[in-house]
């Protein structure tokens, strides 16, 4: 039975590639090139190091085992790349016993590029650690158990979460929480690393302590069993292996239980719930009798966020902008993008500012300060990082959240250039607000108030460049954003994510090149000739607006004749 599942999985992988077209294959090759050093690298590390330096080899084994395990645990949650080609729900109607299903799914989960690479890398340990005799068996067992641990954990965690996440609200929440916790984990790691570096604790000592703690985790136990087996401490190795096997069995049992419940529980019908409305809606009137109420507010419909009534016109441009702003707050992926962008845009400049302050002396008029009075008043410029972070996440695929629903913009007979302009407006509003807030904050810390206006002008320039490039990529390499409505961890299929990443990298480079003139002007102003800074402000605004208009013209002109092509790119592939 397991063999049937493995063959099904192989067939699914092959058909997925056949449907995907050349972009997916290119992406897959690229991803393979990225991953290629990892597999032989891991293999070589585990195979060679222990033969030369047994102590370092043991540490390396621990690091690799724990690292690989952490990767398997975290990757499906954080990067939406879990392979979902074998969805247990699709097999629910087949007359399979849950045990057959679990064994089959486990076997299928072991098939694929990720599992293959992991297993190959881990097998390096057999070459590196296996002694002659019985110990060799234990070493092989340790490697296989580590592999099983990885696969079972990844499956168990995602299945259990899928069971919890039957409702749309829970899914939205989890996308948010998981992404933010990944971000926080990353930030914490950075801070800890920086704190430890100059501290009393020597780095090696710190590693050893960490290693001792990790040694008691399941993958750590597997690594310890590996080392013990290779050194002939067979009793200890057997005990540690038994402990790992027990964990694998426990996780497997947990997965098995969740799988069973997942298959026999019906997804609750999504009862239409009244949304908590914070603002009046024109047609949401409960009784038909309150139509006058609706008419009174009709001048500014409920789609428009109330604080922005003055900014958004009640036409195509305005309504697209209003819808985009609603989507930033409501679409799970966009919400995460904006929240992370906001966090980074505040944290990074703040970090630079605080870490470049010389000592505990309060900021006062320093010797070299031309503008303002702080030590490094021009640090206000770092607020511009916000543009970079906010923009490169959201600007390059502006139609992604519309997806196939873009048809409604096509059948509404208007100028598609207005769509692009509206989206630009919606992107500019939060981005410029963010930059303004951060630059004011940093000015307050450094005293560089005089730099704030220049920073805002430069922000317009950079945003113009980013939007110009973004409009181009948005119409020419659009892809639908996963909506998170059916499958939370459904990726874009193997390889496609990488192709998208390459396009985005190129686009960011292009935007960077467009910003070079402004950078040169500001550099001259800061280093040699201050009046250049005064010149830079209007130039930046004019440059940004010009770039934006040019981008809008190019993309809008193309889009006028090619709306059906954009719709095709945004629609999920059909087998027709």
């Amino acid at each position: 039975m397991a063999w049937v599942f493995v063959r099904l999985k192989l067939r699914l992988l092959r058909n997925g590639l056949r449907l995907g077209g050349w972009q997916q294959i290119a992406g897959l090759v690229f991803a393979g090139l990225l991953a290629l050093p990892l597999v032989p690298g891991g293999f070589a590390l585990l195979a060679i190091l222990p033969r030369h330096d047994p102590e370092a080899g043991a540490t390396a084994a621990m690091a690799v085992f724990v690292g690989v395990f952490a990767g398997w645990l975290a990757l499906p949650l954080f990067s939406a790349t879990l392979d979902t080609s074998l969805d247990p729900a699709k097999l629910a109607l087949l007359p399979l016993r849950p045990r057959q299903l679990a064994v089959g799914l486990f076997a299928a989960a072991c098939v694929g590029l990720g599992p293959l690479g992991t297993l190959l890398a881990l097998l390096g340990a057999v070459a590196g650690f296996a002694p002659a005799g019985l110990g060799a068996l234990l070493v092989v067992a340790a490697v296989l158990l580590e592999f099983a641990l990885c696969v079972v954990t990844a499956r168990a965690v995602t299945t259990v979460l899928s069971r919890w996440l039957r409702s749309r609200r829970a899914r939205d929440l989890v996308i948010l929480v998981v992404s933010l916790s990944a971000l926080l984990l990353n930030l914490t790691l950075q801070v800890v690393l920086r704190a430890v570096e100059p501290g009393r604790l020597s780095r090696f000592g710190g590693l050893r302590t960490t290693g001792r703690v990790l040694g008691w985790s399941p993958p750590g136990l597997a690594a310890r069993a590996l080392v013990a087996g290779s050194r002939g401490r067979l009793g200890a190795a057997v005990l540690e292996l038994l402990a790992v096997a027990a964990v694998v069995a426990l996780l497997g049992w947990w997965w098995y239980g969740s799988l069973q419940r997942l298959l026999v529980t019906v997804e609750p019908a999504s009862a239409p719930r009244q949304q908590r409305s914070t603002e009046p809606r024109p047609v949401g009137a409960r009784r038909p009798g309150t139509e006058r109420e609706g008419a009174r507010r009709a001048a500014r419909p409920g789609l428009f966020p109330r604080p922005l009534w003055a900014l958004l016109p009640a036409n195509r441009l305005g309504v697209v902008a209003a819808k985009e702003l609603r989507y930033f707050a409501r679409h799970p992926r966009l919400r995460v993008q904006w929240l992370t962008a906001g966090l980074f845009a505040i944290a990074l400049p703040l970090f630079f500012t605080l870490s470049s302050r010389p000592g505990p002396t309060p900021p006062g008029p320093g010797p070299g300060a031309g503008f303002g009075g702080g030590q490094h008043p021009h640090l206000v410029f770092t607020a511009l990082i916000g543009i970079y972070v906010a923009v490169n996440q959201t600007v390059l695929n502006q139609f992604g959240a519309d997806g196939a629903a873009y048809w409604s913009n096509i059948v509404a007979s208007g100028d598609p250039q207005d769509d692009l302009a509206g989206k630009s407006l919606a992107l500019a509003l939060p981005t410029l607000t963010l930059v303004t807030a951060v630059s004011l904050l940093i000015a307050a810390i450094t005293g560089g108030w005089a730099w704030v206006p220049l920073t805002l002008c430069l922000a317009v320039g950079l945003l113009g460049a980013a939007l110009a490039v973004g409009m181009f990529t948005s119409v020419h390499s659009a892809f639908p954003l996963p909506g998170g409505t059916t499958n939370l961890w459904g990726g874009r299929g193997s390889g496609q994510g990488c192709a998208v990443g390459m396009t985005q990298l190129l686009a960011m480079l292009a935007a960077g090149v467009l910003c070079v003139p402004l950078g040169v002007l500001v550099g001259i102003g800061v280093a040699w000739w201050h009046p250049a800074l005064v010149l830079a402000a209007p130039v930046a605004v004019a440059y940004g607006v010009a770039l934006w208009r040019f981008g809008l013209f190019l993309a809008g002109d193309w889009l006028r004749g090619h709306q059906p092509d954009l719709l095709a790119a945004l629609s999920p592939r059909r087998a027709a």
Binding site: P272, P282, V283, I410, V411, A412, S413
Partner: protein
């Protein structure tokens, strides 16, 4: 009143690789008509409607709606048409009333008119209670009714509906039917595709039967069915006939189950 037909197709063609989805299709639909396009799955109905509404570029042929050629002057043509596509891909994260506002303002309508009409449409379609619920939480029938409301919002001259009655409960279907009858009563034209022959027989004055990308019969309902029921006429024309059931001897017998 325009003397040209509401919809006129000439030599419309679309191929996906080697598969020809629509094969040199020509058709005229007069004004004020309730036209039903029927055909088995894969006959090319959805492809045809997509090309007619400007969502899919044809390989060849012309589409004229209300005297305007769709692929030469799409903006003008789209002003005259309303669309309910088969796959209800809506902006999931807007509420029902927000979606109507969005579509109305996209078309350059006056905000007050949009608010007034969407309130009425939502009331008629029984969606007033759900007006502020996000579309992602709507049921299939509610989504279909909302999509219909947004297709009618600008009072188009010609309405294209792809499978409007599929997976719809009888009450909602009746609401939609009454609304559509009222709409054509005012001289507007409806073109819709369907599998449900009884609905087509009840509603349509003209039908076209599509098979393998071609129109194999077209005309007034009574002429096409020629004394038979529409279903019989359809099956006969499409040529499904009696399939060879001799090879399925085990089917339904108690001995052959495994």
């Amino acid at each position: 009143m325009n003397s040209a037909p509401a919809l006129s197709l000439r030599g419309l063609r679309k191929a996906y690789g080697p598969k020809i989805a629509v094969d040199w299709l020509s058709l005229d639909v007069p004004h004020g008509c309730f036209f039903g396009l029927v055909g088995p799955n894969g006959a090319g109905k959805t492809t045809t409607l997509s090309m007619v509404t400007g969502l899919l570029r044809p390989d060849a042929g012309t589409v004229v709606v209300d005297g305007v050629e769709v692929w030469r002057d799409p903006a003008e043509a789209k002003r005259h048409i309303g669309v309910l596509p088969e796959e209800l891909r809506l902006l999931e994260r807007l509420s029902g009333d927000e979606l109507l506002t969005y579509n109305g303002l996209l078309r350059g309508m006056d905000p007050a008119t949009v608010a007034e009409r969407s309130a009425e449409l939502l009331a008629v379609l029984g969606l007033t209670e759900a007006a502020s619920t996000l579309v992602v939480d709507y049921s299939h029938g509610m989504r279909k009714k909302l999509a219909l409301a947004s297709a009618l919002l600008h009072n188009p001259r010609v309405l294209f509906l792809d499978e409007p009655f599929e997976a719809i409960d009888p009450v909602s279907a009746r609401t939609i039917r009454l609304l559509l009858e009222r709409y054509t009563g005012g001289g507007a034209t409806v073109v819709f595709s369907s599998h449900v022959m009884t609905v087509v027989e009840q509603l349509c004055d003209r039908v076209g039967i599509m098979h393998n990308g071609r129109l194999i019969a077209e005309g007034p309902l009574d002429q096409v069915r020629a004394g038979r029921s529409l279903e019989d006429a359809f099956v006969e024309l499409v040529g499904a006939g009696q399939s060879d059931t001799e090879t399925l001897g085990w089917l339904g017998s108690s001995s052959g189950s495994s």
